[in-house]
């Protein structure tokens, strides 16, 4: 069932392909990375009967949309929440799709002297102790949650003038950090895509603590269950994984995501 929509490239003469809309709720950072520009067309090519509409919002909002069954399938990166979501019965199952990693970026001057550091906890400690400006997304997004878990691991309760929680998207947050010469935790994809416009350099990378796992969830009795299921199945399929592996190489010389579907 589901909402009907015509294929955009429909022209008279050709037999009309009845397509149904699949609503994919994801995060702004994922969309802003441009990934969907690659995989959605590929999927629609493989499954012409489906048309995917991406609704990019905050992670929390995405899950909420899922709970309301306003989306058919989710692609987000907040593992524990995703598992809880499934446990509560809102999602059928959660499958790993890919990962990229978080990095800590900061001003060239690197007042906290953490450049080259590979231990995120140590880096955070340095920032906190030196009360160096730190910008937090503070929007319960996957990125934010990961930042909090790092603080937790470092045993720090971040607060004070140096700690700016701004409740905005990744792009805004990077912008803010760049403008205010602060540190922030970001996913590599967004950072790379904005690098040119920022006065920020990578300070810390490679800590396993900073891996950013993306998962796909089909929403329980979603409006377009078949479509959602089809997308989920496709995105973990070898051909989709292949598309993901290639994405970004052309533009940034390195892939933005590492496919790791089992």
């Amino acid at each position: 069932g589901g909402q009907k929509a015509e294929a955009p490239d429909e022209s008279p003469g050709e037999p009309v392909v009845e397509t149904s809309e699949v609503i994919l709720a994801s995060t702004t950072s994922t969309e802003d990375s441009g990934l969907f520009g690659e995989i959605i067309p590929a999927f629609e090519e493989a499954y012409p009967q489906y048309k995917v509409s991406v609704v990019a919002v905050g992670t929390g909002q995405a899950l909420e949309i899922g709970r309301n069954k306003d989306a058919d399938v989710l692609l987000v990166h907040a593992k524990s929440d995703e598992e809880e979501f499934v446990a509560e019965g809102y999602g059928i199952e959660r499958r790993d799709v890919m990962y990229n990693d978080f990095i800590i970026v900061g001003p060239e001057s690197d007042p906290a002297g953490i450049k080259g550091e590979t231990d995120a906890k140590k880096a955070f400690e340095a920032i906190a102790n030196g009360k160096h400006l730190f910008v937090s997304r503070g929007d319960d997004s996957g990125t934010h949650k990961r930042e909090m878990s790092v603080w937790k691991a470092a045993g720090i309760e971040p607060a004070g003038d140096w700690y700016n929680s701004i409740g905005q998207g990744m792009g805004d947050t990077l912008q803010f950090a760049s403008e205010s010469e602060g540190y922030t935790l970001t996913d590599r994809g967004t950072y790379l895509s904005m690098k040119g416009k920022l006065d920020l350099v990578i300070a810390v990378e490679g800590d396993p603590l900073l891996l950013n796992q993306y998962g796909v969830i089909v929403v329980t009795d979603a409006n377009n269950l078949e479509g959602g299921q089809a997308f989920a199945d496709w995105v973990v399929s070898p051909e989709a994984q292949d598309v993901i592996a290639k994405f970004g190489v052309a533009e940034f010389g390195e892939p933005l995501f590492v496919p790791n579907a089992k």
Partner: protein, 235 residues
């Protein structure tokens, strides 16, 4: 300000290249804006007339409420409409969420109070005796109301312009209930937000420039109409 230059260049390029994508954004933007303005006029002017030109209990409260309506953040309206249209919500069966219609509905909640509140002030400035004069010539209440609105034209048109502006500018609501879906519910404002979020300030401003240019065109027409009465001389 290299960004500004970039913005202008980009805007021109966008228009000239004119991808289907792009024109779709333009189309949706003004479809939503115009529909919600028209509905806003249909609902708002009568309300405005009632508040401005008649007397009834609770009138002032209604006016205060309307003025408050002018201040409701689009996000809030978006949230409420979304909750209405959500599959879990009372109107879920319509399956309207994340459609252009949903956006028009949400925007109408923005345009209506604006138009109503400002129309009220405009018609209130029409002397009561003029209305009595119309009555004495046989005008029915409806015809009288029509005359008053015609007489208050300058103000009413300004109200409409303001209402149109409010829907053109308001992004929170359309973002919320439209979902900014590429090729479907993406409009200029949501595109602007997304681009600026990505730090693509140039592109973001480019969309802004396009939006403002079209709006300026429309306002040109409105102003021309609004002041066509001036040929009748100064009163």
């Amino acid at each position: 300000m290299s960004v500004l230059v970039e913005a202008v260049v980009t805007s021109v390029r966008l228009v000239l290249q004119g991808s289907e994508e792009f024109w779709n954004v333009i189309a949706v933007t003004f479809e939503v804006a115009i529909i919600s303005t028209i509905v806003g006029v249909l609902l708002g002017t009568p309300m405005g007339f009632l508040m401005g030109a008649t007397r009834f209990r609770g009138r002032r409260t209604m006016i205060a409420l309307t003025n408050t309506g002018m201040a409701i953040p689009p996000v809030v309206i978006g949230l409420l409409v979304m909750m209405m249209l959500s599959r879990k919500g009372p109107l879920g069966f319509l399956g309207m969420l994340y459609t252009v219609n949903a956006m028009s509905v949400a925007q109408t909640f923005i345009s209506t109070p604006m138009i109503a509140g400002l129309t009220a002030a405009a018609v209130a400035s029409i002397p009561y005796k003029l209305r009595l004069q119309a009555r004495s010539l046989g005008a029915s209440p409806w015809q009288e109301a029509l005359l008053v609105i015609k007489e208050a034209r300058l103000g009413v048109v300004a109200a409409v312009a303001a209402g149109f502006g409010a829907v053109v500018r308001g992004v929170g609501a359309v973002m919320m209930v439209g979902g900014n879906i590429e090729g479907k519910t993406r409009v200029l404002t949501t595109a602007i937000v997304q681009e600026s979020r990505k730090g693509e300030f140039g592109t973001s401003l480019a969309y802004g420039i396009i939006l403002m240019t079209v709006t300026f065109g429309l306002n040109g027409l409105i102003t021309w109409y609004q002041h066509s009465s001036e040929r009748l001389g100064r009163v």
